[in-house]
Symmetry: C2
Subunit: 456 residues, 2 copies
C-alpha cells in the first residue's frame, strides 16, 4: 500500500497534467461538428495506453466512432480484468452557464472543472495510470484488457457489434468500470444496480406551415398545446406513469431490501438546498433514494416548437417536438417499453394532429451481485483506501453495456465508481475531485491484487 501511495504522490502533477490534456479534447459524440475532436481523443487514448505499457494497442474502427483496445497478458493462468470506459462526453451546452470553458480544465477548491471530468475521462484514465504503476513497479496481479469506446453518450450503437465480433479478444473473468459515483468521501459505496433506458423523440404536426396566430388562432389545433397536453397526461396525480403496461415487469423490492436501501445516508434538506428547490417531487409512496434507484421514471429531456427567438412572434407553429427518456429497472425491457410508449403516445394524439415517435437509443437495467469474488475484492480495496467498508447502493443512471457484456460475453461487472452525485454530470460546470481522482488510482491496484488472491 505504501508503495502505490508513494507512486501517486511522486507523479500526481503529471497525472493531473495528462488528464487535463485529455479533457481539452472536445469529444462530443452527439454533435457531428465535433467529429475531429472525438477522433483525436481516440488517438490520444491509444498513445497513453502504449506509454503505460499496454500491448497490441489498436484503434478499432466501427460504423461510428472507434473503440480503443489494449492489453497486457502476463500469465494465462491468472484472472483477466477487462476495463471498460468511454472517451466521449456529453454536449457542453448551455455554454453560457459554465463558469469556466468546458474544454479548458480549471481547478477550483480542489475540483477539476471540465466536461467529461467525471463522466468518464477522469474515471477511466485512473485505470490507465493505475495500470502504468502496476506495469512499471511489477505489481500486475491479473492480466488486463482495456476497451475504451467513443459512443457511450449516444447509446453505444456500435459496441454490440464490436463485442460480438471480438469475443475471443475480450475474454475476461470480470469487467471493471469506473463510471458511477459513491455517496461521499466519508461514505464510500459501490453501485450494485443500474437503471435501463428508453429514449425517444416525438414530433407533433398540426397545420402544414406556421400560421398567423390571429388569422388562424382558435380554429386549428396548436401542436405545442397538444404536445403539452399529451406530455401532461403521461404522469397521473400521484406521479405514476400512465402508459398502460409500463410497470408490468417491474421487480418490486422486499420490505427488507427497501429498508437496507434507505439506510444509506440521505439529507433531504441538504438535497433540496443543493438543487435550489423548495419541494421534492416524485412518485407517491417512495423515498427519494427509491425514486432514483429502484423505480422507473419518465423525463422530458428537451421540448421545442414555434418561435423561440428574441421578442414576440405571433405564430401558430406547424410542429412541436420533445425528447423524452424513461429510466428502467429490473426486469423492464428497453425495446418493449419503447414500443409501449410509442403505442400509447400515438393512441392519445387527437385526430387534429399527426404524431411521430422516433426511438433514439436504449439499454437494459442491470443488478450486479454483492456476493461475488469481484464485489468482495472491490469492497476490500475501497475499505483499505477509505478506512471504511463501502455500502452497496442502487444507481439511477444507465450504463447499457453492462447488460450487453453479460449477455454477449457472459461476464459480470463491478462498478468501482469514484465520482459524486454533485459532480454535475451532463450539466454545466461538470467537475471531479482531485482527491477522488488520486484515491481512485490508489484503489485500483488493490482491486487487482485482492481479485487475484480471492480467485486462487
Amino acid at each position: 500500500m505504501q508503495k502505490i501511495k508513494q507512486y501517486v504522490e511522486a507523479n500526481k502533477d503529471r497525472f493531473l497534467e495528462e488528464l487535463f490534456e485529455l479533457l481539452r479534447f472536445p469529444s462530443v459524440s452527439a454533435d457531428p461538428q465535433y467529429k475531429e475532436g472525438v477522433l483525436s481523443t481516440a488517438e490520444f487514448v491509444a498513445q497513453k495506453l502504449k506509454d503505460a505499457g499496454a500491448d497490441n494497442v489498436e484503434i478499432c474502427p466501427t460504423a461510428g466512432y472507434p473503440i480503443v483496445y489494449g492489453e497486457k497478458i502476463i500469465d494465462p493462468s491468472l484472472p483477466t480484468v477487462l476495463v471498460y470506459g468511454h472517451y466521449d462526453v456529453q454536449p457542453a451546452d448551455p455554454l453560457e452557464l459554465w463558469e469556466t470553458p468546458p474544454f479548458e480544465p480549471t481547478v477550483r477548491d480542489g475540483k477539476i472543472y471540465a466536461r467529461g471530468a467525471a463522466d468518464d475521462k477522469g474515471q477511466f484514465y485512473m485505470h490507465v495510470k493505475a495500470f502504468e504503476y502496476m506495469v512499471r513497479e511489477n505489481e500486475l496481479a491479473c492480466n488486463v484488457k482495456f476497451m475504451i469506446e467513443g459512443e457511450e453518450e449516444v447509446g453505444s450503437a456500435n459496441l454490440g457489434t464490436f463485442v460480438k465480433e471480438n469475443k475471443e479478444r475480450l475474454k475476461a473473468d470480470i469487467i471493471l468500470i469506473s463510471d458511477t459515483s459513491m455517496i461521499s468521501m466519508e461514505t464510500p459505496s459501490i453501485e450494485t444496480g443500474l437503471r435501463g433506458l428508453s429514449y425517444v423523440e416525438v414530433e407533433v404536426t398540426g397545420p402544414n406551415r406556421d400560421l398567423h396566430s390571429g388569422v388562424y388562432g382558435g380554429a386549428v389545433a396548436n401542436p405545442a398545446t397538444i404536445l403539452a397536453k399529451m406530455i401532461a397526461s403521461l404522469h397521473d396525480e400521484n406521479n405514476h406513469i400512465t402508459i398502460p403496461g409500463f410497470y408490468d415487469d417491474v421487480v418490486e423490492l422486499s420490505a427488507e431490501e427497501r429498508k437496507a436501501l434507505n439506510e444509506a445516508p440521505f439529507d433531504a434538506e441538504e438535497y433540496k438546498k443543493d438543487l435550489g428547490v423548495e419541494e421534492l417531487w416524485g412518485e407517491e409512496g417512495f423515498t427519494t433514494i427509491e425514486r432514483t434507484g429502484i423505480r422507473p421514471t419518465l423525463e422530458v429531456n428537451g421540448i421545442w416548437g414555434g418561435y423561440i427567438g428574441e421578442g414576440a412572434k405571433t405564430v401558430l407553429p406547424s410542429k412541436a417536438y420533445a425528447k423524452i427518456s424513461m429510466r428502467l429497472v429490473p426486469n423492464q425491457n428497453s425495446d418493449r417499453i419503447t414500443e409501449l410508449f410509442k403505442k400509447h403516445f400515438e393512441s392519445i394524439a387527437p385526430k387534429s394532429v399527426k404524431v411521430e415517435v422516433k426511438p433514439h437509443h436504449g439499454g437494459e437495467p442491470v443488478v450486479t451481485p454483492t456476493d461475488s469474488i469481484a464485489y468482495k475484492a472491490a469492497e476490500k480495496a475501497l475499505e483499505e483506501t477509505f478506512n471504511k467498508k463501502p455500502i452497496p447502493t442502487r444507481g439511477g443512471g444507465s450504463i447499457p453495456i453492462v447488460a450487453l457484456f453479460e449477455k454477449e460475453l457472459g461476464i459480470k461487472t463491478v462498478l468501482l465508481g469514484f465520482g459524486l452525485d454533485s459532480d454535475n454530470l451532463h450539466s454545466p460546470n461538470e467537475k471531479y475531485g482531485i482527491e477522488n481522482y488520486l484515491k481512485g488510482i490508489e484503489t485500483i491496484p488493490l482491486f487487482h491484487k485482492y481479485y487475484a488472491e480471492l480467485s486462487k
Copy 2:
C-alpha cells in the same frame, strides 16, 4: 376610372421594381441584429414619399425605431386622410422552410414571395403609389398624411407617445389602413373588427442547474413537464380558456349578428385541405368564422427547454419557457387579461418550481362602424374595382393602434385590406398577389374621391 387604370398599366413594372427594392431590406424589428436593416428601410420609405410628392417628409426618431411622416395639404377645407402602415416585418425563421430567400422577392404564379410582401410593405406601398398618381395627375380629392412606423410587429411600443406628442400634426378626418385581408378576389370584403392582443413570456424554473436525468430523474420536478401540465390546463375539454374571469367582459353577439357573420363564404373542406389537417379544432359551440373573428383565443407561439440539439442528451432541464399570446375581443382589456393570466398562471404552479410571467406587449380589440361615410366610400371604391359589393367581416388579427388612434386622436379607421388569408403572414413563404397589389393601387384613389364627395 380609365385614367388610374391606364396609369397603373403604364407604370406597373416600376411599381413592382420599387416594391421589390423595399422588400429587400431585412427590417425585422424583433431581432436586434437587423437594426441597420430596419433603419435603412425608414430612409428608403421617406425618400419614396418625397419622390411621390409628399411635403414635410420627416424620419421622426422615437425611443425605438423611427416613424416616417409625410403630408400633402392641398386645401384645409377638404377632408384629410391619414394613411397608417408599418415598414417593419416579422422574423423570417424557420428559414429552411422558405422556397426562395425571404429578403429576395421572387415571383411565382403571379405572386410576390418575400417576408413583408403582404404584411405590410406591399400593402402600405400601394398608398404611396396611389398618392403619386393623385399628385402627378392632379387627382387629389383630400389632404393626405402618411404615418409609417417600424415597430408594429413588436407591439408599437413607441407609437403611443408619438401620437400623444403630435396630435396637431396628425389631425385628420379618417385613418386609412391596408394591413388586413379580404375573402378573395371574387369576394371583396372589408374587416370591421379586429381582435386585441395580450402577449406574455413564461419561465418555469425547477432545479438550479441542468441535472443528469438518471441520477436525479424522478426525484425533482422537471420544469418542462410542469410547464406542459400548466399549459395543458389552460384549455378545458371544450377548448374554453380556464383563466378565471377571462370571458367576463366578452361582448356576446346577437343571433342576427352571428347569422350575418356566418353568411360569408367558408368551405371547411378547402380550409382543412389548405392547412393539411384532418380535423378542425376550437371552442365548442362556435363556427370557424366565429372562432377566428369574434371569440378570444389563447395560443402557444413558442415553447422551449432542455436539450434541443442533435441526438440524445439525458438531461433534466433547469428551466422551460413558453411564449403565449391571447387574442381579445370587445370589450376585453389587454392589461386586465395580462393581469388575469399572470395571477392564474402563478397560482397553478406547484411549489416545486418557480414561475415568472413577463408581459411582452398588447393591444385593444376594436370594431369599426359600417354606417360611416368612410365605410361607404371604401365600399363604393371596392365595388367599382371588383364589380362586386364587398361584405363586412371580422378579422382575427390585431392592429392595436386602431384602438389607440380612436382613444388618442378621436379618429375612426377604415381597414381597406387587399391581402388574402392564404398569404402566409408571419409564416415561411409569405406572399402577395401582383393583382392584389395593382388592384389596391387602383382602388385607393377611388376611396379618396368618394370620401371627399360623401363628406360634402
